[in-house]
Amino acid sequence: MAKQVMRRLASDNEYFHPDFHGALSAGIEYLALRYGDEAVREYLRRFAAAYYAPLKQAVQQRGLVALKEYYERVYEREGAKIATELSRDELLVRIEACPAVMHMRKRGYRVARLFHETTRTVNDVLCEDTPFAAELVEYDPETGRAVVRFRRRMP
């Protein structure tokens, strides 16, 4: 059989590997099994505080519109439909189905019991030290359909 060779440059493809959702889900499941549910939240808090520091700074400087733009950009890239309603004191995000959950269901990956914490805990961190609070109003673990509300805290 002839030798096969494949040569690719980074510019030949778009960086988009949705199977990574399954790997993250496995990580969350592992943390919960070995260290307990609170370890999942603590890990996500640390990750979000470190990696999303620039986004958090944008929320501090520009308010809820920074979160609206972030949500719209991320979900569009993942090929999912969302609807946003923005007012001075509130941002409501309706996610028809979570693209991560839907991809994992399609590929047969296990969806971690605490997978919703990747939304809830991360949003909580994004709102720390800002005038806003986050709430996961609705969540369907089967599809990841969700309603997220960010609102200005009462003085």
Partner: protein, 151 residues
């Protein structure tokens, strides 16, 4: 949801979190868990197609990850090889100035894939000596092939 494009920093931060909890052994334990519970597709492809299964598996993943690589399959020699000229994962971590990559980030590949492939009759040779420049190589060789025979 953490977008899949943010997975690599999340992965690296998970390794740091685990090491802070239980040392390097805790990280290794997770890598073994991930290999056993997440790489069933690689295992199935190699079980069904022999060493060509490696080609099939990495053709999918490396293209989706937009890697800069050369991949070679020589079924007569029983050898598969990836030369990673610029790893998208390590490259992303090196470019990201506001977080520090896990110090032993690149070792996860060797641990995860070796754990799948060795029990199926292959040996794995990883060269991570240039991983601080996002470069590495990974060779999978059918165990009956003497080291001198393979290119």
């Amino acid at each position: 949801m953490i977008p899949c494009t943010d997975f690599i920093p999340a992965y690296s931060e998970l390794f740091k979190f685990l090491e802070a909890r239980g040392g390097p052994e805790a990280v290794l334990d997770f890598w073994n868990y991930l290999s056993d519970n997440f790489l069933g597709n690689l295992r199935s492809l190699v079980e069904q197609n022999g060493i060509r299964g490696c080609w099939l598996y990495w053709s999918h993943t490396l293209n989706e990850e937009a890697a800069d690589f050369t991949m070679e399959l020589d079924e007569d020699a029983g050898e598969f090889r990836i030369i990673m000229h610029n790893c998208p994962s390590k490259g992303l971590l090196l470019r990201c100035k506001h977080i520090e990559p896990y110090h032993d980030y690149c070792s996860h590949c060797d641990v995860l894939y070796r754990r799948v492939l060795e029990p199926l009759g292959f040996e794995c040779i990883a060269d991570l000596s240039e991983c601080d420049r996002a470069r590495c190589s990974f060779v999978v060789r059918a165990r009956h092939t003497a080291p001198g025979e393979a290119r």
